[in-house]
C-alpha cells in the first residue's frame, strides 16, 4: 500500500526532482520495488484497455442505432412517397370540395357566430354600466332578458351604438333575423372607431338564407372590402369561396 502511494506520486508528477531520481534509482537497485512499479504500470494499462473496450462497445451501440435509424429512414422515404401520392389525391378531392363545390353560407355564418358570439366581453371595472348588465345576462344564457335590457337602454337613448349592436346580436342568436337586420341597419353607417355592423348584417342574411339574401350578403362583403371596413379579411376569405 505504502509503495503504491509512492509509485502513484511519482507518475502523478508529485515528487520533487530529488525524490524522482531516488525513485528511479530504487527501480535499478531494488528488484521487488521494480516489480511493484511494473505491476502498477501493467495494471494501469489493463484497466485503461478495459475502459476503452467498454467505450468501444458503447460506440458500437450508438453506431448501430444510427445505422438502423438510417435504414428506417429509407423505409420511411418509401412510405413517404406513397403517403405523398395519397395526400395529393386527398388535397385534390378536398380542394374540389372546398373551392369548386359551392360553399354553404349558413355554415360560414354558424362558424362565425360560434366563434365570436359565444360570450360578450364585460368591463373589468367594479362598477358595471347598463350595457354590461345586458352582456352579463347574455353570457348567462338569459337571451330574452339580455334583449330586454339592451332595448331598455335604446328606449332611453335611441343612438346608443353599443346597445343597438348587442340588441342585434341577441336577436340573431334568438333567430329573430328581421329584428337583427333592423338593428344592424340602424348603425351600419355610424362613424365609430370599430363598426362591424355590415358584416353582422351579412351574417344575419346568410343565416336567414331567404331568396336574394345570399346575393345581398355578398354585396355587403364586397362593400366591406372596397371601403376597408371592419372584418375585411373575413369578407375576403369568404368571397374567395364559390357561393
Amino acid at each position: 500500500m505504502e509503495n503504491l502511494d509512492y509509485i502513484e506520486s511519482y507518475f502523478k508528477n508529485e515528487l520533487p526532482a530529488e525524490e524522482k531520481t531516488q525513485f528511479e534509482q530504487k527501480i535499478i537497485n531494488d528488484k521487488n520495488f521494480a516489480e511493484e512499479v511494473a505491476f502498477y504500470c501493467s495494471a494501469r494499462q489493463i484497466i485503461k484497455d478495459e475502459l476503452n473496450k467498454e467505450k468501444k462497445e458503447q460506440f458500437k451501440k450508438i453506431y448501430q442505432q444510427k445505422n438502423i435509424s438510417h435504414q428506417n429512414t429509407g423505409i420511411v422515404k418509401k412510405i413517404w412517397t406513397f403517403s405523398a401520392a395519397a395526400a395529393a389525391i386527398i388535397v385534390i378531392v378536398f380542394g374540389w370540395y372546398f373551392f369548386v363545390k359551392p360553399v354553404s353560407t349558413q355554415q360560414l355564418a354558424d362558424e362565425y357566430i360560434q366563434q365570436y358570439f359565444q360570450t360578450l366581453g364585460v368591463s373589468m371595472s367594479s362598477k358595471q354600466d347598463s350595457v354590461d348588465v345586458g352582456k352579463s345576462l347574455y353570457n348567462d344564457g338569459k337571451l330574452p332578458e339580455a334583449l330586454q335590457q339592451f332595448e331598455k337602454i335604446i328606449n332611453t337613448n335611441s343612438k346608443n351604438f353599443e346597445a343597438i349592436k348587442y340588441a342585434g346580436i341577441v336577436s340573431l342568436k334568438l333567430k329573430n333575423y328581421d329584428k337583427a337586420l333592423a338593428y344592424f341597419s340602424q348603425i351600419e353607417n355610424d362613424s365609430v372607431f370599430s363598426n362591424p355592423a355590415k358584416i353582422y348584417k351579412a351574417i344575419t342574411l346568410m343565416e336567414r338564407n331567404n331568396a336574394g339574401d345570399k346575393e345581398q350578403a355578398k354585396e355587403l362583403l364586397q362593400q366591406i372590402i372596397q371601403n376597408n371596413l371592419d372584418e375585411k379579411e373575413t369578407a375576403e376569405k369568404w368571397l374567395k369561396k364559390k357561393w
Binding site: 503504491l4 508528477n13 512499479v37 505491476f39 502498477y40 495494471a43 484497466i47
Partner: protein, 205 residues
C-alpha cells in the same frame, strides 16, 4: 483530405464547435460522456469512407475508427492536442494511420504476432535505465490473467479503477460514486490495486 461531411454531420458540427467539444471532453460526468459520443458520432461517416478506400472489413475499419476516436479524446484530455488543426482533420489523420497500420499487418501477415501492452504515457518520464527494467518486467506480465483478475475484483473496485483510468481525480470520483471524501476514494482505490496484485500473484505463484 478528410471526406466531405454529409448535411447532418455539418449540422452537428455547427451545433458544437471544436472549442465547446474540447471543453466538454476535459470536463467530467455526463457532459464528458456526451462529448465523447458526440465526437465519435459526428465523424462516424469516416467508417464508410474507410471501407471504400482501404478495402478492409467493416469490423476492422470500425475498430480503427473507434480506436482513433479514443486516441484523439485522450490527446485532447491530456492537452497533447494543441489545436493546430481542426478535430476533424486530426481525427482523420489518426484514423488514416491506424488503417495503414492495419493494411501493413494484413499484407505482411503480422496480425497473429502477440501484442504486448503499449508503454503508458507516464512511463516516458522514467530514466532510460529504469524504463528498460520496467519494460522487461512488463513483458513478463500475463495480461490475460490480469484482465481476468480485474473482473474478479467486484463491481465497486472495478468501477472505481475505471474512473481513475479515465482521468477522474479522487475529488471528481466523490461526485460520481458514493464516497464521502477524496481521501476515502484514494485509500479505497489503492486498496483495490493492492487486492488486484494479491489476486494476480496468488494465481501466478
Amino acid at each position: 483530405m478528410p471526406p466531405t461531411p454529409t448535411m447532418s454531420n455539418t449540422i452537428l458540427l455547427h451545433k458544437a464547435s471544436d472549442g465547446e467539444l474540447i471543453n466538454n471532453l476535459k470536463g467530467t460526468g455526463i457532459d464528458k460522456k456526451k462529448a465523447e459520443e458526440q465526437l465519435f458520432t459526428t465523424y462516424s461517416y469516416f467508417i464508410k469512407e474507410g471501407e471504400r478506400k482501404y478495402k478492409l472489413s467493416h469490423e476492422d475499419i470500425f475498430d480503427a475508427y473507434a480506436d482513433a476516436a479514443l486516441a484523439v479524446i485522450e490527446k485532447i484530455k491530456d492537452d497533447s492536442f494543441k489545436g493546430l488543426s481542426s478535430i476533424k482533420t486530426y481525427l482523420y489523420q489518426v484514423f488514416h494511420n491506424k488503417c495503414v497500420d492495419l493494411l501493413r499487418k494484413k499484407t505482411t501477415n503480422k496480425q497473429s504476432v502477440h501484442q504486448t501492452a503499449s508503454i503508458t504515457e507516464s512511463m516516458f518520464e522514467l530514466s532510460d535505465s529504469a524504463k528498460s527494467i520496467i519494460n522487461k518486467l512488463m513483458e513478463k506480465t500475463d495480461f490475460d490473467l490480469l484482465k481476468q483478475k480485474l473482473n474478479e475484483l467486484g463491481d465497486n473496485c472495478r468501477q472505481l479503477l475505471l474512473l481513475w483510468a479515465d482521468g477522474y481525480s479522487d475529488k471528481e470520483i466523490v461526485a460520481e460514486l458514493t464516497y464521502k471524501t477524496a481521501d476515502v476514494v484514494k485509500t479505497t482505490r489503492l486498496r483495490c490495486m493492492d487486492k488486484l496484485r494479491q489476486l494476480y500473484n496468488t494465481k501466478l505463484y
